[in-house]
């Protein structure tokens, strides 16, 4: 039998999966985002057993599996632990045109870092260890999501 596949034009089918979701933010996420939206406040949660403050806040401590009931308001300022300046252009997911920067910020009093965008700073000026502060959207623009914080900028007293 001759090879029936030889000389066959390879066909490619293009498609797309469009899947709407309705993700519950849960009690913890709902409180975090309503406080951010309505009062511009950033809250973390503290595990009393491990004595660790997590932000974003969570309901269960992953270290000891105890429930976390204690809320702690955190100042909108902290230290940049690491960063990257993104040069790839992926408008389908990226929130800004390149170059733009992400950082992980340890807010004062927290034991975990918050990932966010960095702004009001030239890419070449960003260094780990920099003190930064949150810049919030105007209250009327806030929708109760992570982009209610526009970005973190170098701290100015």
């Amino acid at each position: 039998m001759t090879d029936f596949q030889s000389g066959v034009e390879p066909m490619v089918y293009s498609g797309r999966i469009r899947m709407p979701y309705q993700w519950s933010a849960g009690e913890t996420g709902s409180r975090f985002f309503t406080q951010l939206r309505d009062y511009g406040r950033i809250w973390g949660s503290r595990c009393r057993v491990c004595d660790l403050v997590f932000v974003p806040p969570r309901k269960v401590c992953g270290r000891c599996l105890n429930g976390i009931g204690e809320w702690i308001e955190l100042p909108p300022a902290g230290v940049l632990q690491t960063f990257t300046v993104v040069y790839r252009h992926r408008p389908a997911i990226h929130p800004a045109d390149p170059p733009f920067a992400y950082g992980i910020i340890r807010l004062d009093g927290a034991d975990s870092g918050l990932i966010h965008l960095l702004g009001e700073i030239e890419p070449g000026e960003i260094v780990s260890g920099l003190r930064v502060q949150a810049v919030l959207k105007e209250k009327r623009e806030r929708r109760g999501d992570i982009l209610d914080i526009k970005y973190f900028k170098p701290f100015s007293a």
């Binding site: 390879p10 490619v12 498609g15 999966i17 979701y21 993700w23 933010a25 849960g26 996420g29 997590f54 932000v55 974003p56 992953g62 632990q81 690491t82 960063f83 990257t84 300046v85 993104v86 040069y87 790839r88 992926r90 389908a92 997911i93 990226h94 929130p95 992400y102 950082g103 992980i104 340890r106 975990s112 870092g113 918050l114 990932i115 966010h116 965008l117 890419p123 780990s128 999501d145 992570i146 982009l147």
Partner: protein
């Protein structure tokens, strides 16, 4: 666990950027037959199958069921792992260890070219807290690379030694996708993707599949292929949120290695392991993983690599296959490390064979920035 279960057959496709002529099921069929042929058996000798796939990558719900025919699972007990291939292998190994099965076929497939990797990786982030920030695997790994380099003073040039070495090694591997001669300068001059990561610090995207057959002692003794015994295995996971971890740390890998070494009776990996295959999606990761595996102290991966220790003719050749930097078929990549380590122990690795291998290590990672790790110790 010493010598209870052996790997008796392996099969791989050529890894390529775009396998336009084949479906993912075609790739599964190819490697299933190659592994059976390698073991000198037929599908009748396989009593159960573990497939490894990801529905987002395949663009299909319960994608594993779509490859049942291609891997000979019809009428058999078949189950699926959605995660790195090393975890599928771990499940396959346990099925034999349980005594309920004698021979497990583990087969992983992925065609990275068919989906959009940035959209798929962005969907790995928590949709409530983080997804809208637009992070994907390259940006997240860049945050890790920056932290690792800052904490220990590791340089970009030290990280660049890894793609230089691995692409060179790939020249001896007929399955590898990107075999080339590179210099550190060329890596350093390549376009920045997300600082400090550059184009040539990063793995390519690949299409491909890999299969591995496990057998118990009784079955392994009746096969023609030289059995490669699973001496030890360990798995360990860290926190999900990147901000909860020190991204320069390798705690979960240290934990996985400790468990694998404990089962294998390995006290000092530097004295007892002859060749290493790690899952390095970026150059800096190979340095970090060598620290976690105990080949050098924390922060010393750059110095260790710059000393030539991991070259083909060095004391601990790392990724003679060319590693993930030379072919990255997504969640297949960890199973490839096991297949390659197996070939090294058998002495069947062809032009990429390291002399005198008695014990080989294979490593896989799962999740963002090495959240989870799986370590395998294989011996003849």
């Amino acid at each position: 666990m010493l010598d209870e279960v052996a790997i008796v057959g392996v099969g791989q496709t050529k890894y390529e950027r775009r396998k336009i002529g084949e479906t993912f099921a075609d790739l599964v069929f190819e490697v299933t037959n190659k592994a059976l042929e390698d073991a000198g058996i037929t599908i009748r000798d396989i009593d159960n199958v573990v497939t490894v796939s990801n529905d987002f990558q395949d663009g299909r719900t319960i994608s594993s069921m779509a490859v049942m025919d291609a891997c000979g699972a019809f009428g058999k007990n078949v189950s699926t792992v959605e995660g790195d291939g090393t975890l599928g292998a771990l499940y396959g190994l346990m099925r034999v260890l349980s005594g309920a099965f004698e021979t497990t076929l583990v087969v992983a497939h992925c065609k990275c070219s068919e989906g959009d990797q940035d959209l798929i990786w962005n969907s790995a982030f928590d949709p409530v807290y983080y997804r809208r920030l637009g992070l994907e695997a390259v940006s997240a790994s860049a945050l890790q690379a920056r932290r690792y380099m800052d904490k220990y003073g590791v340089t970009g040039e030290q990280c660049a030694l890894v793609p230089v070495k691995n692409h060179r090694n790939a020249r001896a591997n007929p399955w590898a996708q990107e075999a080339m001669d590179l210099t550190v300068e060329e890596v350093m001059r390549s376009p920045v993707l997300a600082s400090p990561l550059k184009m040539l610090d990063a793995a390519p995207l690949s299409d491909g599949a890999c299969a591995v057959i496990f057998a118990n002692r009784w079955k392994a003794g009746r096969m023609t292929t030289k059995p490669v015994w699973v001496r030890g295995v360990g798995h360990c996971a860290d926190a999900y949120y990147l901000g909860d971890r020190d991204l320069a740390g390798v705690d979960s890998l240290t934990g996985a290695a400790k468990r694998a070494y404990g089962l294998a009776g390995i006290v000092d990996p530097r004295k007892e392991i002859d060749v290493v295959e790690v899952f390095e999606a970026f150059g800096y990761q190979e340095l970090m993983w060598l620290e976690g595996l105990g080949f050098c102290d924390p922060g010393q991966g750059g110095v260790f690599t710059a000393g030539g220790n991991t070259l083909m003719d060095g004391p601990w050749p790392v990724n003679p296959s060319g590693g993930v930097l030379s072919a990255h078929p997504g969640l297949v990549a960890g199973l490839v490390r096991i297949a390659e380590a197996c070939l090294q122990v058998r002495g069947d690795a062809g032009a990429r064979q390291v002399d005198g291998v008695r014990t080989a290590l294979a490593h896989g990672t799962n999740g963002l920035c090495g959240q989870g790790h799986c370590v395998w110790v294989l011996g003849g």
